[in-house]
Structures are given as C-alpha cells and as structure tokens.
C-alpha cells in the first residue's frame, strides 16, 4: 500500500472542511477563492442497516479507477447531548485503504433531512479541490429524509429484505426520490420478492427506473450498478437535466449558507431565522 502521497492534498482539504463545518462565512470566502470545477454528486440513501456504507465503499473504489473520488458519510447527532457516533468508516475498509480516496464522516448536527448543515459547502469544496465523483451517504433514512434529492445529481435508494411489506414501499417520501433502486443483500431470503415488488410498485407509479440487485459484501451486481449510474449521469448531461440540478444545488447552497450564517452570528434574531427556514423548506417545491 502506498501511504499518503495522493494527488490531492488531503491534509489541506481536511482542515478546510473543519472550517466549513464551524464557520459558514469563512467557508464561503475560502470556496469563492477556488476556481469552479465540474463534479458529480452521487447520493446514497436508505434505511439504517440496508447496506449503504458497504455499497458506497464498493462504488467509490470502482469510480476511483477512473476519476478522483471522495466520500462523505453522515451519521446522526444526538438531539439530547449533541454528541455523535460516526461509524461509517468501519464498512469502508476498501475506500479508506485506497490512498487516493478521501473519506470524511460528518454528524447531522440537528439537520432533520438526512444530511448535515454544512453539506452543500462541503461538497462544493471537495469539487473545487479536484474531486470529480463525490458520494454522499445520508443518515439511515426513515421515510421523510429526502433532502439528498436537492443535493445529488443522482440518488441511489438502497433497500434490503426484511424491513417491511409492500405497503411500506408505496408510502410517500423516500421512495419518490430514487433514480436507481438497489435491492441489496441479494443472498438473504426475501430478496427475490423485494426485487419483484419494487419493480411492480415502480411500474404502478408509471416510472421506468432501474432496479439492481447487489450483494455489497461479495461484490455481486456492483459493476452493473456502477455502469447504470454512469449511463444515467450521461443521460442527464445530454438532456440538460444536470445543469438544472446544478443551478438548483447552487440556490440551495446559497440559501442554506445564509441560514447557517444567521444561526451562527445572529441567533437572537429569531424572526429572520424563521423566514429563511421557511424559504429553505419551500423553495423549488412546486417543481418537484
């Protein structure tokens, strides 16, 4: 194993990310000084224990063969103590052993949408630092943690057998945001049923979205998934959907940053904070 001689200066990136997590105003200054670059954000979401981290590990290693790759993995902060137990690196042995892949854990710090307050600036900094593929793993999502759809160019929804019947897959929220559906743990009983059920539900809702079966421990199906992601991203580039997504991401970033700056510096001005929060929650709603 080569040790610590990656193309991108990880120490610098790492230190700047800490500033981004704690001081949004300074974060924006630093980011503005760097030249804009093209990058793709691949969102990975799904229930706790569905296998998001292991899958992200596999995907990141695959894309690292072609493009410089970073992973941001978010786990929840305690609403009681503010502390967090960030354990996604455990499932990312391959990616964390790859000297070129940058892996960062983040706590959700009170964000309820499945991401963290500084995620937009984090992703922008990684992009401008030279990472071309950025995987964002959300917190284990229940039903309504759907913020990833505003951040990512493509959302991978990871499902695993044993987490409920087909009524669960018909509910509003998280099932509406996937661009690719993954039935992970394909070796477990119930996987066949989940696969056909997922396809049936998608058909019912008139969506022609790919459903891929994977086993992220053994690696089955990962290559197929990786290819499908690539194909969809290419499609998005051609159809102009990608530039629309980016425009939106930028908008969300600006609003989110404004909200953070207010929270960090003018917390006593509660009304202003509410206004921004309202804007943040309602922006772009009609177009979704």
């Amino acid at each position: 194993m080569r040790f610590m001689e990656p193309k991108i200066d990880q120490l610098r990136v790492s230190k700047v990310l800490s500033i981004i997590e704690n001081d949004t105003e300074e974060a924006r200054r630093i980011i503005d000084e760097l030249p804009q670059r093209d990058y793709f954000v691949i969102g990975v979401t799904g229930s706790p224990g569905a296998g998001k981290s292991s899958l992200t590990d596999r995907l990141a290693c695959m894309s690292a063969d072609e493009k410089s790759t970073a992973v941001v993995a978010i786990d929840p902060s305690s609403p009681f103590t503010g502390g967090a137990f960030l354990g996604d690196r455990i499932r990312m042995r391959r990616a964390t052993d790859d000297p070129e892949i940058f892996v960062r854990s983040m706590a959700s710090r009170g964000n309820v949408g499945g991401l963290s307050p500084s995620i937009y600036n984090t992703v922008e900094l990684l992009g401008r630092s030279g990472y071309e593929r950025i995987y964002v793993e959300t917190v284990g999502a229940g039903q309504s943690e759907t913020d990833i759809v505003n951040l990512a160019d493509i959302v991978i929804l990871v499902l695993a057998p044993g987490l409920g019947d087909d009524v669960q897959t018909m509910k509003a929220g998280i099932m509406e945001i996937g661009d690719i559906f993954v039935v992970n743990k394909s070796d477990l009983p119930g996987s066949d049923q989940l696969f056909s059920r997922t396809r049936a539900i998608l058909e019912l809702s008139g969506k022609q979205l790919p459903v891929v079966r994977t086993n992220s421990i053994k690696g089955n199906g990962i290559e197929e998934l990786h290819k499908k992601i690539g194909a969809i991203l290419e499609d998005h580039v051609d159809s102009g959907r990608l530039s629309e997504k980016r425009r939106k991401r930028n908008l969300y970033n600006n609003l989110n940053s404004a909200y953070q700056i207010i929270k960090e510096h003018y917390a006593e001005n509660a009304k202003l904070e509410e206004l921004i929060k309202y804007l943040l929650e309602n922006i772009g709603r009609e177009s979704k």
């Binding site: 194993m1 967090a84 964390t96 706590a107």
Partner: protein
C-alpha cells in the same frame, strides 16, 4: 465548537468492548466520535486522523504490543504533517510502559478502572487549552 475524537483499536485481537464503551461515553459527553473498529493498522489510523481532522486520537490496546504500535503511530503522525494531536491510550499497559509511552509523546494512558467521566473531562481540558 464540537470536539472530534478518533477511537481506534489497533492490534489483531478482537477485544473491542473497551473501545466501544469509551466511544459511547464520549458521544454522551457531547463529542463527535469517529469509531473505526477492530484491527486497524497504524497507517489506517493516521490516515483516518488526517481525513477526519480530529482533535484527539484514542487508541485501545490490549494485545501487549502497545510499545511498538504507539511508536509507529507517533512516527506516522509526525510524517503526515498532521501536527501535534494529543494521543490517548487505554488498555492493559504496565505502569513502567505507561511512563515510557508518556515520555515518547503519548499524552495520557488510561488503565482499567479509569472512570469514563474523567476520560471525557481530560479530553475536554486538553482540547480547550
């Protein structure tokens, strides 16, 4: 500002209960704990410390290889350019070894029976300085 701690368990044994108990206690003390799990090499520990930009590194060692592991981690920390992050060690460490580890640059050694509260307090005090 949140304190970020890396809790890692180097060595080839599977005794990770202590590391988990400490990690959860630090979480309950309001810290953000990055837990990397069992069988970490000194290289992967230092890489994690670098990528996560933690304030403190905690190592749990029960295999008896603490002298070798700690000197390797200290060396790699220096080479990586991370700077002087305090390293805490917990586990079964004989008193004379603990003394030598402190001399070598390990910030503190916590033996069996150390209260979880005092570990959290020590870390807080060290980071805030």
């Amino acid at each position: 500002m949140k304190i970020k701690v890396l809790v890692a368990k180097p060595g080839l044994d599977g005794h990770d209960r202590g590391a988990k108990v400490v990690a959860m206690a630090l979480r309950d003390a309001g810290m953000e704990v990055i837990y990397t799990g069992l069988r970490q090499s000194p290289e992967s520990i230092v890489k994690a410390a670098l990528q996560e930009d933690v304030d403190v590194v905690g190592l749990s060692i029960l295999s008896g290889a603490h002298m070798k592991i700690c000197s390797k981690v200290l060396q790699l920390m220096k080479d990586s350019g991370i700077g002087n992050k305090p390293i805490f060690v917990g586990g079964i460490i004989p008193a004379e070894d603990a003394e030598e580890l402190r001399r070598a640059g390990i910030f503190e050694v916590f033996g069996p029976g150390t209260s979880l509260k005092s570990i959290a307090e020590k870390i807080e005090e060290t980071v805030k300085k």
